[in-house]
Amino acid sequence: MASTPELLPYQRIREDLFRPLSGISRAYALTTAVAFVVGAAGLIAWGYQLRRGMGVTGLGRPVFWGFYIVDFVFWIGISHAGTLISAILRLTNAAWRKPVTRAAEAITVFALMIGGMFPIIHLGRAWLFYWLLPYPNSRLLWPNFRSPLLWDLTAIVTYMTGSVIYLYLPLIPDMAQLAEHNTPWRRKFYRALSLGWTGSDRQWHALERAMKLMACLILAVAVSVHTVVAWDFAMALAPMWHSTIFGPYFVAGAIFSGIAALILVMAALRKVLRLESYLTRRHFDNLARLLLLMSLLWLYFTVSENLTVWYGNDPKEMAVFGARTRAHYAPYFWTMVVLNFVIPFVVLGIRRLRTIANTAIAAGCVVVGMWLERFVIVVPTLANPRLASASGSYAPTWVEGAITAATFAAMVMLYMIFSKLFPIIAVWEFKPHEQEDE
């Protein structure tokens, strides 16, 4: 049985958590290489799209938003794993959060970086992305500040800034320790990033105060970001988009997919970095319960959303509802229900089945299911607009598939690099504390 981490001596904790930073195992090299190849394939696909134009994608009238916007919403959702979960656990002073928070915060930053790329990829002429920034063009025309797309830009920039700071702050003491005994270039690197941290009480007080304040601020920003993403859809008078519950529905979905992503990452790190003594069954069990709770909340929102549409029987809304549940998109919809509710409910609801492996499987199902949910929200509505004669369909091409696959590879690669540069668990937070034992 793995020993409780709080009871391990500090020296051992330090060695165990700093050990993964040195040396590269075969599994690590292989995973990074595979991720690099898939990522490179995605870059080639994007290059092809830039050269040939958006015609190489499956996008066209009336479905102008396809895989790219699905990926955008999905990754922004995944980004809620970190900062939001970490902030909630920090503010509630949950002692079990310690090995979880940094892994979660890193997911946020990487997922935001990846998600933030999609509006630029979707622009087609990516080199003109700066037109989104609030500056007047040659005719002194400013961007339309009333547009939810501009709201997105500001929300994501704010969330990104906050998340990077929120990840960076608790890294400072660890980097100061890493600067003491390391190779020369690493010493310089950590010394520069730790800004001359000495561990004085002034610094600890300032750090703790800043972390508490940042946790409060980041909570509000995280909720607002996914609400704004939901409003990209809800502010349009499109069938099954113009819904008052879209904001909270998206936020709940984002937290749901975020927890699932966190469980997957933790399970992978536990194996690859041999952190069995730190990422224990207790952590997975707590996160599994949270995932189960979010699965039920997701089901509640999904039923509320669909039941009101079905009961209202508005012909335009019913066209989309029918396409989702009975026609072309029904396989995606029902697979989504199975992956997001049926499997997690059975696997996580029965205590005997709630093992680490099963929790990771359920989390994997939820990640796929939530991607499908974004697809089911975005595409059927565009394919069935209010003007029936304008209806159409959407079939993604290899370019969109390759770019989507590359984003997952990018996530893996970024995480691999991060885990070699920084301890994936905050060492200074992990000192033995008897009072925090269960």
Binding site: Y10, Q11, R14, P134, P136, R139, L140, L141, W142, P143, N144, F145, R146, P148, L150, W151, T154, A155, V157, T158, T161, G162, I165, L169, P173, Q177, L195, G196, W197, T198, G199, S200, D201, R202, Q203, W204, H205, A206, L207, E208, R209, A210, L213, M214, L217, I218, A220, V221, S224, V228, W231, W428, E429, K431
Partner: protein, 170 residues
């Protein structure tokens, strides 16, 4: 000449006792620093470090919020779009941007204040010696005049310091 007296303690209680003994001689909290590998909590009144970080955060938020609203107002009036009788500048329609900028201001101000308050960008005691702290112990550093070093060392020993050093500026 300024010297530094550094005492090493095994627990927080003896360090707190040393701080009390030293502060009884009218030594300011600004001349004392405690070094440790984890955050140390003292009882209220021992070594309080009042902070204005929350105020800085609020002021940063308000400033960014107001600035962004003013900027949007200017931009909307700089090139008037045809709005069909609706207001050229609508607070509600641009409220999301104002909110996000308010939060950004608060975040940036918090971070900036953290850097300032922790001394990471304001090296007040640049030449002061930094003790090497063993895991599990903590060090109390006192800045004082040379003639005060003897009684400061004595106070630390009486409070339970396991080692006391006297060092000059490095």
């Amino acid at each position: 000449m300024t010297v530094y007296v550094i005492g090493e303690f095994r627990d927080t209680a003896s360090a707190a006792q040393a701080i009390r003994l030293i502060r009884d001689h009218a030594v300011s909290g600004a001349d004392l620093d405690v070094f440790s590998e984890e955050p140390v909590e003292f009882r209220r009144g021992v070594l309080d470090r009042p902070s204005r970080m929350s105020l800085a955060s609020v002021l940063g938020g308000i400033s960014f919020g107001l600035l962004s609203s003013a900027f949007i107002y200017f931009a909307q009036h700089n090139y008037r779009l045809v709005t069909g009788g609706m207001p050229v500048f609508s607070f509600w329609a641009t409220g999301v941007i104002t909110f996000e900028m308010t939060m950004l201001g608060a975040i940036v101000a918090t971070f900036a204040w953290f850097l300032w308050e922790s001394g990471l960008i304001r090296k007040r005691d640049r030449r002061a010696p930094v003790p090497e702290v063993e895991p599990g112990s903590l060090c109390l550093r006192m800045r004082c005049a040379e003639d005060e070093a003897a009684w400061a060392s004595d106070a630390m020993r009486r409070a339970g310091a396991i080692g006391v050093q006297r060092r000059g500026e490095s």
